[in-house]
Amino acid sequence: MNERKSKDEYGRTIRLIFIASLVCFSLFSFILWKIDSPRAERVRMVALDILMPNFEWVLGPLRGLSSISEGIGSYGTLVEENRELRLQLQKMRDWREAAIRLEEENSQLLDLNNVRVNPSLQYITGLVLSDSGSSFRRSLLLNIGAFDGINDGWAVVDSSGLVGRIFGVGKKLSRVVLLIDSSSRIPVKIEPSGKKALLVGDNSLRPPIEIVENIEMIRSGDRVLTSGDGKVFPSDVLVGHVIRDADQRLRVKLVANYGRLKFLKVIKTHTVDPSDILGEVIINTVTD
């Protein structure tokens, strides 16, 4: 009996050490993540590359179910939606005429001035696999990755406007940090005043903008576009429209349909390596 008891004691100590080492292991991985975040995130992307296909056989049917229920729900609003669409179509026809006229005029003017237009932007389209699963981190996984030529930092848009940017690329998938994530900061400009500002994610669907000066020049309804500052983002991608909240704070009503993010386009941007620019400058000065 006594022997049995001491054996139990022994087992308990071993167990305690074992648990402590497991806790230390997790803490160690946490500290590694904290110290070298980019590398840890790369490890995470590799793990996700391996793990996500395993989730697919549950996620697939669930996704199907949710789209069915969405479809059924949409029947209820069908009549109303139709009426609204017809109304919009009527308005759009007028706009279309105006747009065509302006486009012609614009191209003629550009031609007259010999303006070089930005080389056309290229897209890669991906399917949204999953969201981050927590309300604190606003990000998505797309089913396109390094194999499809995706790079970190590229802008992600849906059919109407900016959604977020690529942060973390795996072989076959990539992570998109949404504009509304609290870590997201996007340089924007506000048309027609042309003021530069910063779009700051704060977990709400109407992220605030921070402007340094001349707030009075900005009106509700002004368009918010990416400014292209920092050379990471392409410029002139529509983000949303300015609104004022109850505290008179400026916020952006996003044009991207955050309720139904399914297919997203990643805009290919030719990122400029700072050293390249420097080299060019040096060469230029030498040849001059």
Binding site: L27, V58, D131
Partner: protein, 182 residues
């Protein structure tokens, strides 16, 4: 007979992994971006805790760690932080339930609530120390409340669907000797 005794824990292990897998899949579904006011309760915690209170010897610590690390990776959380913190809480609950046995529902609720609150504040503390951006405190509290409200449902599911119930006397006698090898 002997075979049956050996295979039984494995059934529980597989059940636990499957339920964790389903919880993760549901959380990953890309449909909740608009419904941000509805926060996901910490289901994995609830299932693990309910399990440990009912069947402390049928859930090895390594399995818990595995499921939690995967969840940290997939849910894009700080790697390993919640795993480490929650593991301490889990082992406390396991020790408690092995040494003191069955709880009344009220006692269980109080115990689970207080452990979760402690762990959450521990996590916030660590996040503050390491200067990790932690979500606003109201959101955390809201999630906490939501998690605790849903606990009875989780217990019910564990009891009726997964058949994770309080161990009976005979079971403890049979398994009593082999507890240290988990």
């Amino acid at each position: 007979m002997v075979n049956f005794q050996n295979i039984r824990p494995w059934i529980y292990y597989v059940k636990y992994l499957l339920i964790c897998f389903f919880i993760l899949s549901f959380q990953l579904l890309p449909m909740r971006i608009v419904h941000q006011e509805v926060l996901w309760p910490n289901l994995m915690y609830l299932v693990t805790v309910g399990w440990l209170i009912r069947k402390p010897s049928y859930l090895p610590v390594i399995l818990i760690l595995f499921a939690h690390i995967i969840s940290d990776i997939v849910l894009l959380k700080p790697l390993g932080l919640w795993s480490a913190i929650s593991l301490i809480g889990y082992e406390f609950l396991r020790w408690r339930s092995l040494s003191q046995g069955r709880l009344k529902l009220g006692q269980e609720l109080v115990l689970v609530t207080s452990v979760l609150i402690l762990l959450t504040f521990l996590q916030i503390g660590v996040e503050l120390i390491f200067k990790i951006e932690s979500p606003p405190i109201e959101m955390i509290l809201l999630q906490l409340t939501f998690t605790l409200l849903i606990y009875p449902v989780v217990i019910f599911m564990l009891h009726s669907i997964l058949r994770v119930r309080y161990f009976e006397r005979s079971e403890t006698v049979v398994r009593g000797g082999s507890m240290e090898n988990i």
